[in-house]
């Protein structure tokens, strides 16, 4: 286990950071619930199995510190939904009246829970720590409601099943949630230390490039790491999210062993990670998506005014975002076709679709 000890490579923690380490931490978990996405993983892991692992993970997180908090957000095909805490729900009422006055956890409370929640479905268990139970029940119940409330027409789009998931929306929601909790910075500094974790099964996010990148930069500014637990194919922008914000990107090679990944790679919180070598991928796909067709591009063109990315020089010679009109001569230069064979016939019009290399020109410089 010595391998994870990275403390020799970091300067000794000062007093201030030690104080910071005692802060409770907030985990915002974004669960991709795209039905098609999970369907594609079906032999390896099902949503149900993943949720079970995640609940154990959440409970471990809560167990680490009495004041640790958690929020679970579902990123569905057509909506973003809080699985926990549910808006309008009062979780304190789950505390039985007999112990509510004491305000502290006691074995007595757990016993009385049996009676007060007797009607509360089959997930009830008397021997469970109250906070665990509250989260577990809420997540399971809300997830079920979400899936039951999803009709086939919701995930069908233009005659095909949409494998889209609103990751960008979920990221924005979680950043807003974190901002609400952390934002009230009083004299003693922030009250909690937040991080985001995304469990993703969806591979194509190209249409959400701009909103996702905006979320990444917002998170970077708020010093909120975004951890990615990736099941299925790698996703370009999520790699960048983890890299930019200093989070962990883990592509699960063995999805069945998800619980092991969660416990070893994702459990340490922000303060602890300074002392550890975090198991994240060293090679990151830094490609971007073009603004015009949402294609992921290796080599593209960038507007020199607003830095919009294009996969090919715009047909009308002006930027779609900022309306800058490009120099037609430079555009023509960019559109030149390579000539490899010359003949005595001067009119050698060889039409050839060809990707442009990064030959920078002042007006319209290719990206990457």
């Amino acid at each position: 286990m010595n391998a994870v000890d990275g403390s020799s490579h970091v300067p000794q923690a000062g007093f201030a950071s030690e104080l910071e380490e005692e802060l409770p931490s907030l985990l915002v978990l974004i669960l991709d619930t795209s039905p098609l996405g999970w369907g594609a993983q079906s032999p390896a892991i099902s949503l149900h199995e993943a949720v079970a692992s995640l609940l154990i993970f959440i409970n471990s997180h809560l167990a680490l510190n009495h004041s640790n908090e958690v929020a679970v957000i579902a990123s569905h095909t057509n909506c973003v939904k809080y699985l926990y805490p549910v808006p309008g729900e009062d979780y304190s009422k789950l505390v039985p009246k007999s112990t509510a006055t004491s305000g502290t956890e006691s074995s007595e409370e757990m016993i009385t829970n049996v009676q007060s929640n007797g009607d509360n479905g089959t997930l009830n268990d008397a021997s469970m720590y109250r906070q665990f139970r509250v989260v577990n029940e809420s997540v399971m119940k809300q997830l079920e409601l979400l899936l039951l409330g999803t009709s086939a027409s919701d995930i069908e789009h233009n005659g095909k099943i949409s494998d889209a998931t609103l990751i960008s929306g979920a990221l924005s929601t979680s950043l807003a949630y974190i901002n609400r909790l952390v934002g009230g910075v009083n004299d003693n500094g922030p009250k909690v230390r937040a991080r985001i974790m995304v469990v993703s099964v969806c591979s194509d996010l190209a249409s959400q490039y701009v909103p996702i990148m905006n979320c990444i930069f917002a998170a970077q500014k708020m010093k909120v790491p975004i951890d990615i637990c990736k099941i299925g194919n790698d996703t370009v922008f999520l790699q960048q999210a983890a890299d930019t914000t200093g989070g962990v990107y883990m592509h699960l090679e063995h999805p069945r062993g998800m619980i092991q990944y969660l416990m070893t790679a994702f459990l340490p919180d922000r303060a602890l990670r300074k002392h550890l070598i975090i198991p994240t991928q060293s090679s990151i796909d830094f490609r971007a998506a073009c603004f015009c067709h949402n294609r992921i591009v290796d080599i593209g063109y960038v507007c020199n005014i607003c830095l919009s990315i294009y996969c090919q020089p715009p047909a009308d010679g002006s930027c779609a975002i900022c309306d800058t009109i490009f120099d037609p001569k430079e555009l023509a230069e960019l559109l030149k076709k390579p000539v490899v064979v010359t003949t005595t016939v001067p009119k050698n019009k060889t039409k050839k679709k060809k990707k442009k290399d990064s030959d920078a020109t002042p007006t319209f410089a290719p990206a990457l």
Binding site: A3, G6, H9, P35, L36, W38, G39, S42, H48, E49, V51, L55, I56, T122, L123, N124, D125, N136, E137, M140, L143, L147, T150, A152, I155, E156, G159, K160, I161, S207, L252, H254, R256, G257, I259, Q260, Y261, I277, I278, P279, T280, S282, F291, H293, N294, A320, I321, K336, P338, V339, V340, V341, V345, N348, T350, K351, K352, K354, K356, D357
Partner: protein
């Protein structure tokens, strides 16, 4: 600016050349034979060496009438000194006169504010000083030769650049000399570097305070006793350049030199100078009571460093136009009665005269040096004025300007573009299948969730997989941790801490081949995408061969590495090769794809060509 104009001319019966250089604003006559020191004794120095007249000091030009036998030109200066030059032919005279007149007109308009007093400054007879011509060291910015084509053609520049840059030289030797890349191709990608180097070469060291750099080592015998007039000996090493600079920066020294050197020996002059109070004063040091008096040098103590007395200076100041907004007298708000002169140390009565003179000397010197660097590239008067205004403006009283951001709007909905062109359209027949699939997918999901209707304990325990799965997952995590740990350690230990020696050799070879390969790739793509048919013929095939060769070279490095391995086990060897190949796989792929792109293009374009030709020839060959 015209080119310097010169004609042979006689002055005071001596042969010489008269030169008009409008760039320097002077007319200069220099004798064709080196002047002999013993000749002069009259002290005014005009006859001895060269005669230098500033163009803007010329008050009048007078040519001898055409009927006169000798063609003579008389130049009258503003200080009413007259110089008469005799030129060999009448034509020469007319030309000289015309040049002088036009140059005078040009220079007097541009530098009207120049001081009139330093009009006649006989050049020193020191051979070194006389030989070096242009004292005002202008900045010469080479505007020519900076175009891409010029830089590509300038071989001397390239050679000097290679000499100054070791890494590049190595690369040049490897790629151009070793691999036959045309030098032009090599430089084409480095034109900005060449341009930079050319500009660097054009830069010269500016003038500096010479006296401060001359460090006399005094070996005085009796100075230690504090007696006073001991036989002081000073060792000074003076180059002719330094002497010239001293004369330029301190005209008073030049004056002392001119007036005293004929009686004094040159070395004696300099040794006396460096011991004198004058030197101390010019250096900005304090003049102590113990300093040895020197009856020759002390004469010049009261003059300032331009060789002017206090009265002359005053006169000059009166003549000089004082800017309205820096004129203290004109500004009522700057009333010295309010705070008195106390805040300004130069205005205090108690301030020692020496301190003041030091401040003044230093200020003047810096101004002079700066002015000489700026040289002829003077800003227009308006700009100077604006600059001064800006310096005087009280910016902190200005209202803070708000930063305005430019808002960008996405006009055209990208959703539309996406859905129409993403190429994911599904034909109508598939819709039904998908529809049923959608509901099926949903069903299985909800089923799996509701099936887990046992206790939450059961649900949670279902998450625990088999121990083999756990160890697989564990090993993936630890593999990542270990690889990151290695990079961390390498970064901290400065790299190759645990690389075996065979790896070190391979690494070096690999680095070299990699650099070369990237170089060729760069040239290949820039040539290919330039779309110029000329380059397609001349450079491309060569570059493609080089690209392919780079690939074989890299592979050879890999093979060498594997063969050098001690182990004979084929499995280990294959594993080793795979490991090392991992380092250069990206380069190999890039080389491969470049070659493939080229060959595909050749095939395609040749096919298109033959098709076009057959189309052209068929109707022509079979006339109907």
């Amino acid at each position: 600016m015209q080119a310097p104009f010169s004609v042979p001319a006689l002055y005071s019966g001596k042969k010489g050349t008269i030169r008009v250089s409008s760039g320097r604003n002077i007319v200069e006559w220099s004798p064709s034979i080196a002047p002999i020191d013993s000749h002069g004794g009259n002290g005014n120095g005009q006859v001895n060496g060269t005669v230098v007249i500033r163009l803007d000091d010329i008050a009048g030009l007078q040519a001898s009438p055409a009927t006169h036998a000798k063609a003579r030109l008389r130049i009258t200066t503003t200080s009413h000194t007259q110089f008469t030059f005799e030129v060999p032919t009448r034509a020469n005279l007319e030309a000289l006169k015309a040049v002088l007149a036009s140059a005078n007109a040009a220079s007097s308009s541009s530098s009207a504010a120049q001081s009139p007093s330093a009009s006649l400054t006989p050049a020193p007879t020191t051979p070194g000083a006389a030989s070096k011509s242009d004292p005002t060291r202008k900045i010469v910015i080479p505007t020519k030769g900076l175009s891409d084509a010029d830089l590509l053609a300038d071989r001397t520049l390239q050679i000097s650049f290679l000499k100054s840059n070791g890494d590049l030289q190595k690369q040049f030797l490897d790629v151009v000399v070793g691999q036959q890349l045309p030098p032009d191709e090599f430089w084409r990608t480095r034109i900005p570097l060449l341009r930079m180097h050319s500009l660097v070469l054009a830069q010269r060291r500016g003038p500096y305070n010479v006296l401060a750099t001359v460090k006399p080592v005094s070996t005085t015998q009796s100075e230690a006793t504090g007696g006073g007039a001991g036989t002081a000996q000073v060792k000074v090493s003076l180059s002719s350049d330094k002497i010239r600079d001293i004369f330029l920066q301190y005209p008073v020294v030049r004056r002392a030199y001119d007036e005293n050197v004929p009686p004094l020996v040159e070395t004696a002059f300099w040794s006396r100078f460096f011991l004198s109070k004058l030197c101390r004063k010019l250096r900005g040091e304090k003049i102590g009571l113990n300093d040895t008096p020197d009856n020759v040098m002390d004469k010049y103590l009261d003059l300032d460093e331009d060789g002017m007395t206090a009265e002359q200076r005053e006169l000059e100041n009166e003549n000089a136009k004082i800017m309205r907004f820096v004129d203290v007298e004109a500004n009522e708000m700057d009333d010295s009665q309010r705070a008195g002169n106390r805040p300004d140390i130069t205005m205090r009565q108690t301030t020692h005269k020496d301190t003041l003179s030091i401040i003044r000397t230093m200020n003047k010197l810096s101004q002079k040096i700066v002015a000489s660097v700026e040289g002829e590239a003077q800003q227009p008067l308006e700009e100077q004025e604006q600059l001064k205004q800006r310096e005087l403006a009280l910016e902190d009283l200005e209202p803070v300007t708000e930063i305005s951001h430019v808002e960008l709007h996405l006009h055209r909905s990208t959703d539309f573009l996406y859905s129409s062109s993403a190429g994911k359209d599904v034909d109508a027949a598939a819709t039904d299948v998908n529809g049923s699939r959608a509901s099926k997918v949903l069903e299985t999901m909800t089923d799996s969730l509701s099936n887990s209707s046992g206790s939450i304990h059961e649900l949670l325990s279902s998450a625990v997989p088999s121990s083999s799965t756990i160890s697989h997952a564990q090993s993936q995590v630890f593999k990542l941790i270990n690889s990151r740990r290695r990079t961390e350690e390498n970064r901290h230990n400065g790299g190759d801490s645990d690389t075996p020696p065979s790896d070190a050799v391979t690494l070096r070879d690999m680095k070299l081949s990699h650099t070369t390969a990237i170089e060729f790739l760069h040239h290949f793509w820039s040539a290919l995408l330039s779309g110029e048919p000329s380059r397609a013929v001349s450079a491309l095939p060569l570059l493609v061969t080089s690209v392919e060769k780079s690939k074989t070279r890299l592979e050879a490095v890999l093979d060498r590495h594997v063969s050098s391995n001690a182990s004979q086990d084929p499995a280990t060897l294959a594993q080793e090769k795979k490991r090392v190949q991992g380092y250069v796989q990206i380069t190999l792929d890039a080389l491969q794809s470049a070659a493939k792109t080229y060959h595909d293009l050749v095939k395609e374009q040749q096919a298109a060509l033959t098709a076009a030709q057959s189309e052209n020839t068929t109707p022509a060959g079979t006339p109907r």
